[in-house]
């Protein structure tokens, strides 16, 4: 199994490196970051040259790639257009984004698996149809529509009704919030609830449908029939035999969707004005802030790959056929 993981690791690093080349070529060709500066007749020539030098714009693209790539390997993500180091910014914004992504991921997994199993056990009944229809509904709804709907038709009416901010719609925390971690919990909940819900609703539905169909497939397996023929309880058959096997493929699907979750975070942060990675990235793109965009793309690629490795590990832990080969 170690060899299996090792092989995946090497392959992942290869994909990551290829992604870095592709992303760099794409971003390096996305336009002149100093365009606005140059258009301003008041900018001294020396200043432009200095900026170009600072961002290595005066070098060829392979050279720039090399400088950037070796920098990243040393943890140096370069500087923003304004000359601020990108690395620390990446991590402060990441902390903000993870505040919605991690809870949303965990919540979505729990909801999707329970609903998928529930729906499968009620196969063909109204509960099943209800769950499936709802999943389709959310699958068809763009994230921004979910986000805006919750913001304007849930949060704002509630806040207006109670004449105070119960569900906040802007930012990840109130700047005025003080005190220790536990004193800030109500404030955090108020800010996190809706964005987290938005993200959950954005990703959970396809997992529900997938989980439901794997449970249904598993139910028809011979080994489930054999388990039932042993005379163990229905619950034990469901949990120990059906669910235990039906969880294996869904881990991969969830891991693969992590990229989608990060994409959803871009939209959610826009709707709820969270100053997280997504907004940072969008602003970076608009300003053609090369190193910011690169840092974001490489960060997402890395996390997605880490999640896929974790899924492989989970797969190996859950499935002895892989564990022992």
């Amino acid at each position: 199994m170690l060899r299996f993981i090792g092989k995946r690791l090497v392959m992942s690093l290869g994909v990551l490196w290829a992604a870095s080349v592709l992303v760099f070529i794409m971003v390096a060709n996305s336009g002149d970051p100093l365009f606005d500066l140059k258009m301003n007749p008041l900018t001294p020539k020396a200043s432009i040259l200095y900026r170009e030098h600072l961002l290595h714009l005066d070098k060829s693209i392979p050279e720039r790639y090399w400088i950037w790539f070796t920098g990243v390997l040393h943890g140096d993500f370069g500087k923003t257009l304004h000359g601020v180091p990108v690395g620390p910014q990446l991590f402060t914004h990441m902390a903000v984004t993870m505040k919605m992504v991690i809870p949303a991921l965990l919540l979505a997994i729990v909801i999707a698996i329970s609903l998928g199993v529930y729906s499968a056990t009620k196969r063909g009944r109204w509960q099943d149809k209800g769950v499936t229809f709802t999943s389709f509904l959310f699958l068809a709804t763009p994230v921004f529509v979910v986000g805006l709907f919750l913001k304007f038709f849930v949060a704002i009416p509630i806040d207006q009704h109670f004449q105070k901010v119960i569900l906040s719609t802007a930012g990840d925390s109130s700047p005025t919030a003080t005190g220790g971690f536990f004193q800030r919990i109500p404030d955090m909940l108020s800010h996190m609830t809706l964005p987290t819900m938005t993200l959950v609703l954005a990703v959970f539905s396809s997992w529900v449908i997938y989980q439901r169909s794997t449970v249904l497939d598993t139910m028809d397996q011979d080994y489930v029939m054999l388990a039932r023929s042993k005379g163990i309880s229905k619950r034990r058959v469901l949990v120990r035999h059906i669910l235990r096997n039906a969880l294996i493929p869904v881990t991969t699907v969830i891991a693969l969707d992590f990229a989608g979750l990060l994409g959803g975070a871009v939209i959610t942060e826009t709707v709820y004005s969270w100053n997280g990675l997504g907004l940072w990235f969008l602003n970076g793109v608009n300003a053609l802030d090369i190193n910011v965009v690169l840092a974001y793309l490489m960060f997402t690629a890395t996390t997605v790959i880490i999640f896929n490795l974790l899924a492989d590990l989970a797969y190996a832990v859950l499935d002895p056929r892989i564990r022992y080969s």
Partner: protein, 310 residues
């Protein structure tokens, strides 16, 4: 048979018989599929609703070609008989704009789906048929596109191409060039299993070339997978395009799309909810319809692999 034609020759009639039997079988399968689809109430509902919206949009924009861009003198009007969906702050008739936007979204989605279908079938087919190093190259590229959120790449790319005015076809091509990997993976998997089947082996033994086998034997057998997933690509494209437009990076004025209308309507969503509700609702209904159609096709064409039914 009294005359022995030798190994290869005696295969000839066998393959022919096999083939005609196959095409007949395929014919019967299509009839069955059509019947199953017709019986599927959600799928039929999706198809009829989708076509109705498109038809109304086409007729309306044909009769009233400038309606969606003409400014009226009524501003911020709630829905009324004159303006079914109300009007915007600048006096735009939202009904016309929504229809035009819907039409635009669907056209883009169809272009994306066509590109994805062609690219995905070719890439997946070649990878699955030839295996080996071609397969490795295609699949690594597919892996690459799975690693970075599609939305993020599209955001960067549409910013790059912003100079060209973000015309709708530019957006469509960009999305199309990035959305084919899903179809490619499925076609590849299908081909990998199909190529082991006897009729393919027989055709190979007869000396049929790769291209002929792919298009004459493999594609017809994988067509169910291709159709279903092309349909799903339509909905995926609508989701992506509307999201880009919502971020101001897709369809931008003076063109119109539903995502853009939602973006413009969001600020007054609490005071003039129709500005948000109609474009968002229309977008949702359209995508939902495509999902229902896709799901119905899946159940009709390949009931074994059906995901949503028992």
């Amino acid at each position: 048979m009294s005359i022995n034609f030798g190994q290869a020759m005696s295969d000839v009639p066998m393959v022919d018989i096999d083939n005609s039997g196959l095409s007949e079988e395929i014919h019967g399968q299509w009839r069955m599929a059509l019947r199953r689809f017709r019986r599927d109430r959600l799928a039929m509902f999706g198809l009829i609703t989708f076509l109705t919206i498109l038809l109304i949009a086409t007729i309306y924009t044909f009769v009233n070609p400038a309606g969606w861009s003409e400014l009226t003198t009524s501003f911020n009007q709630p829905p009324s008989w004159n303006h079914l969906f109300g009007t915007t702050g600048s006096g735009l008739d939202l009904f016309s704009a929504c229809l035009k936007g819907a039409q635009q979204d669907v056209i883009i989605a169809f272009v994306v789906a066509s590109i994805s279908m062609v690219l995905g079938t070719i890439a997946g087919g070649v990878a699955g048929y030839y295996k080996g190093s071609i397969d490795a190259v295609v699949m690594r590229f597919v892996d690459l596109l799975l690693v970075i959120p599609l939305l993020a790449i599209l955001i960067v790319l549409s910013r790059i191409f912003a100079g060209s005015g973000n015309s709708w076809w530019m957006i469509a091509i960009l999305i199309g060039l990035l959305s084919w990997t899903y179809i490619a993976r499925l076609v590849r998997a299908e081909f990998l299993s199909l190529r082991e089947r006897t009729f393919v082996e027989a055709a190979t033994a007869l000396g049929a070339g790769g291209r002929r086998i792919i298009f004459k034997h493999l594609v017809p057998n994988a067509i169910g997978t291709i159709i279903v997933n092309t349909t799903l690509t339509v909905s995926g494209a609508m989701l992506l395009e509307s999201t880009l437009s919502f971020l101001g990076l897709g369809i931008v004025p003076p063109q119109v799309s539903l995502g853009m209308l939602v973006q413009e309507g969001q600020d007054s969503a609490t005071t003039q909810p129709w500005l948000f509700a109609f474009p968002a609702g229309m977008l949702l209904v359209l995508i939902l319809c495509v999902f229902f159609i896709g799901d119905g096709l899946q159940n009709a064409l390949d009931p074994r692999k059906s995901r949503s039914r028992a």
